[in-house]
């Protein structure tokens, strides 16, 4: 903070705090946006190799400038507002989509010191903010004045409400095991080696959380909100140029966010798998990024592997499989932790 306080020395205290916070926000958002850009590139490369082809390799050395070219193209394209659409809501929808995807990053701990807002109710805050993401999709579908877009947004609304319940229950398990809602302390609870990570005692909940995360971000195999073979491109069929790009950015920022949360909640966050020499050479932030990348790879792998779910199968999976699984596991945890001497299995 030394450099900043000398630069801002003469300004009132509140403006110094504001400026310092803005710098920190920039330090999160700029790398995030770069990661989003290169995640699209890596996705195309990974899926390409999984399907025995090369993927983008024309722009720049080995195709590394492809996301920059894509971004420029989207920036320069015309934004078409369809006739009969609701102009204000049509423009507002992409903003509503990207806002929660960025806000939730404020409580994600990157290392034990690097967190923008270390709040006590961090887990609840993340759940509340991510649940607002559906408005972008719903409003976009309605404001477009198009049947395809409208169908996409209705599908998305029903799907997100269903999977949010499963996700919330999975987080209840994390809360029971860690005994706190503070994300930084949840990660610190898992210190001391990979066998302390919550993924082992909460393995069913980890699976449920990951699957509902995929469903909440509208990624394959749950991307019926887009469903290009049935409803063209779903909720964003009428969007072009930068407004479309915002939906795209929101989807990928949400993917990275859910991977980061999976890392913090189940995989020990920035902590190394073993507290001995070769593992502790990597700095904590590097461990965090390695784990986030590993989870992100799972997303890409899923996309290259599975066909899209049928809509009624998605609903069945959400309501009749995932929610009962979480309920049973939470009950098992509660009984074991309260009435038996094996409570140490779930929490320290």
């Amino acid at each position: 903070m030394g450099v900043v306080s000398t630069v801002l020395g003469g300004f009132p205290a509140w403006s110094q705090i504001l400026a310092w916070d803005l710098i920190k926000i920039g330090a999160i958002v700029v790398p995030l946006m770069l990661s989003v850009a290169y995640l699209t590139f890596i996705e195309r490369k990974v899926i390409g190799y999984m399907q025995v082809r090369v993927g983008p390799n024309r722009v720049g050395p080995r195709g590394w400038l492809q996301p920059i070219a894509d971004g420029l193209k989207l920036l320069l394209k015309e934004i078409v507002v369809p006739t009969g659409s609701n102009k204000i809501l049509f423009v507002l929808a992409p903003v509503l989509a990207i806002m929660p995807a960025l806000v939730a990053w404020s409580v994600v701990p990157f290392t034990s010191h690097w967190v923008l807002a270390n709040i006590n109710a961090g887990l609840l805050f993340v759940l509340a903010v991510t649940s607002m993401g559906v408005y972008g999709v719903v409003v976009a579908g309605w404001a477009s004045n198009s049947k395809y877009a409208f169908l996409g947004s209705l599908r998305s609304a029903a799907q997100i409400v269903a999977y949010e319940i499963a996700m919330g229950f999975a987080l209840v398990g994390v809360l029971m095991a860690a005994g706190t809602l503070n994300l930084r302390r949840i990660a610190l609870e898992q210190a001391g080696g990979f066998w302390h990570w919550l993924v082992w005692p909460l393995f069913p909940l980890f699976l449920v959380y990951f699957i509902s995360g995929v469903a909440e971000t509208n990624r394959l195999p749950f991307d019926v909100a887009e469903g290009e073979s049935e409803i063209v491109a779903g909720f964003h069929v009428e969007y072009s140029g930068m407004t479309f790009a915002l939906f795209f950015l929101a989807e990928y920022a949400n993917m990275i966010l859910l991977s980061a949360l999976t890392t913090v909640l189940f995989l020990g966050g920035w902590l190394p798998p073993l507290d001995v020499a070769p593992f502790t050479w990597l700095p904590p932030l590097a461990w965090f990024l390695v784990k986030v990348s590993a989870v992100l790879f799972l997303y890409l792998w899923l996309r290259a592997t599975f066909p899209r779910y049928r809509y009624d199968q998605i609903m069945r999976l959400g309501w009749k499989v995932l929610i009962p699984v979480t309920l049973v596991w939470i009950s098992v945890m509660g009984v074991v932790m309260t009435f038996t001497p094996w409570g140490f299995l779930f929490s320290r």
């Binding site: 509140w14 109710a121 609840l124 509340a128 607002m132 408005y135 719903v138 309605w142 199968q313």
Partner: protein
Amino acid sequence: MTFESLVFDFFAAVLLWSAAMVVVIRNPVKAALFLVLAFVSAASIWMLAEAEFLAIVLVLVYVGAVMVLFLFVVMMIDVNLAALKQGFRAYLPLGGVVALLMVVEIALVVGPARFGLHKVPAPAPLPSHYDNTRALGTLLYTTYVYPFEIAAALLLVAIVAAIALTMRRRPETKYQDPSRQVNVRAQDRVRLVKMPAERRG
């Protein structure tokens, strides 16, 4: 004027404006979206009053779930605005009386006689490590456990009743049985018939 009071004024103004728009605006979808804005502003004001658990739960439950379902329904029904406006004159006196009564009742309960600063002292600012969520949880599951459990049971009954009311057997609707779909094998559906090629006559 402190920074906090500035923030409060801003969110209070947005809250009042959006709440008024919910009633005034014609389009029901826009009205629902303004209600969402009102909830978010109210949550921000609660956050300012250090009630972070209530604020977050308001956003989580009402904005994240209830209003999504509400929008879902409102978007699908085709509201005829002309039919809605038809009885406006006839219902105005009755509606006005009900509204006036409600305003009087609210004023009596939260008016300055009962709710001023001299009656309820401003709460002392709590230390930053104070955990609102834990305090509320402890209260709910110890002191108020019976009212809490009774409310939960009532809600469960309401859910069961709502589902029972809407669940009807409809013989004309086709249902899918996923276990049969999964168990089906190729030989159940396809019969391969071996035929010799036709001999040229």
